[in-house]
Symmetry: C2
Subunit: 250 residues, 2 copies
């Protein structure tokens, strides 16, 4: 997860802010603080509602210092969003590995999605709502990531319908499932009535209910299925740029 920090080291990137052709090394710490500040502020005030002065001040650097790490405000938004989508995708695929049963795949997908959104609400909100402020290639790239992620859900639902485990509720079902879980980023609080594992189970149950999941004429519940280990799950959805506390600079 940590990037190399050797002088002159070429980073292959893929989610990080663009490497300029500079001979100097970059401070990993500063880069992280900038992304965290951007993540926090974009989620709190929106992309257009956030000024580069706000980001720089929150991160504790001068405005021009920011431009050593990112070529523009847009690039910071892209960096935050791409990290979210990358981790969401990779943690899903990793957790789905070796699971074939459609019902189990659905509750796993839901558990990853729920855990991610509860654990990284700020970053998730940015990726879900602010990414549309991007334009051109950046937006297209993010859109492809989103499509790929939704594709995994679509395949899982289709397989379940084919096997007769799920009712066929069309693509509407996928959109409804994703939307209801994504909303968690807006209201989840660590001191709420449910812990993250409990939230995963409840949303798993709701997903199975919503798809009318049944086997041998009996309705399925999460309780009947094998769930991923909660600790492992929480570890997999850990995102480094999620702001840990309200920044004191503000």
């Amino acid at each position: 997860m940590a990037t190399t920090n050797q002088p002159g080291g070429q980073r292959t990137s893929g989610g990080r802010m663009k490497a300029k052709s500079s001979r100097r090394a970059r401070s990993v710490r500063t880069e992280l603080q900038l992304l965290r500040a951007a993540c926090w502020l974009f989620s709190e005030r929106g992309f257009h509602g956030t000024g580069i002065r706000d980001i720089a001040e929150t991160a504790g650097v001068a405005v021009s210092g920011m431009y050593y790490y990112a070529a523009s405000k847009d690039e910071m938004l892209e960096a935050v969003t791409r990290r979210v989508m990358d981790l969401l995708m990779s943690s899903s695929e990793e957790t789905l590995r070796d699971i074939d049963d459609p019902a189990e795949r659905l509750v796993v997908l839901m558990a990853v999605h729920v855990a991610f959104h509860a654990r990284n609400p700020r970053a998730a909100k940015v990726a879900d709502h602010e990414f549309q402020a991007l334009t051109g290639d950046a937006r297209e790239g993010i859109q492809q990531l989103r499509d790929a992620y939704e594709g995994v859900w679509a395949e899982t639902l289709r397989a379940g319908v084919r096997d007769g485990v799920f009712q066929d509720r069309g693509s509407v079902a996928r959109l409804a499932l994703l939307q209801m879980a994504t909303g968690i980023a807006h209201w989840y609080r660590p001191d709420g009535e449910l812990s993250i594992p409990q939230l995963c189970e409840r949303f798993g149950d709701m997903a199975l209910s919503l798809m009318g999941a049944s086997r041998a004429g009996r309705l399925l519940q999460v309780h009947d299925l094998t769930m991923p280990d909660p600790d492992l799950l929480l570890e997999r959805v850990e995102l480094s740029i999620e702001p840990r506390n309200e920044p004191s600079h503000t």
Copy 2:
């Protein structure tokens, strides 16, 4: 729905932009065009991403002409949002009148919510996502309307749980139900696979499934219940400020 337009007429307001102590009358047509332009642009680019020049140009008036109708950009956002919440609330209450059964109340609430969001996606997006750009009293006022609306849902679910018709899934269920239907504003297209009445029925079924709605040991479906007349429903959710087509000025 139409406001009086007599010179010097005092408007009691309640959702409209503030009446200044002006002796001149206001053009209802211009006011509507301004709100429509604001609605369109706020939904497309976000509140902070929209300039007053954009709004004025789209509405076909000079920038200063706008300020004859609204004291600030904030006030326009408040006006749009308040109209959304007012209509959502009033159409729900009207359609719920004389319906006591919790399961029927749930599918009616869902039908109104779905129809509203499919029919007025731009306005709904503004009310759902941009209202947080408001500050102070304006924000508090809108928040109260939202709380009141969610309260109707909460009561309905609680009654259903009390009667043993719904499973108890806590407040999480309410949030999930609202969220999944609200998402319609993001993806619904009039030329999609489902018409609005069909969408209402499908979401009604999903809501019943999600709540595990059953009576006499048999799972409930919308098909088993009385639904409001689709035409009447669509008429009730008609919002005057929803932009009808993409503005040509842009």
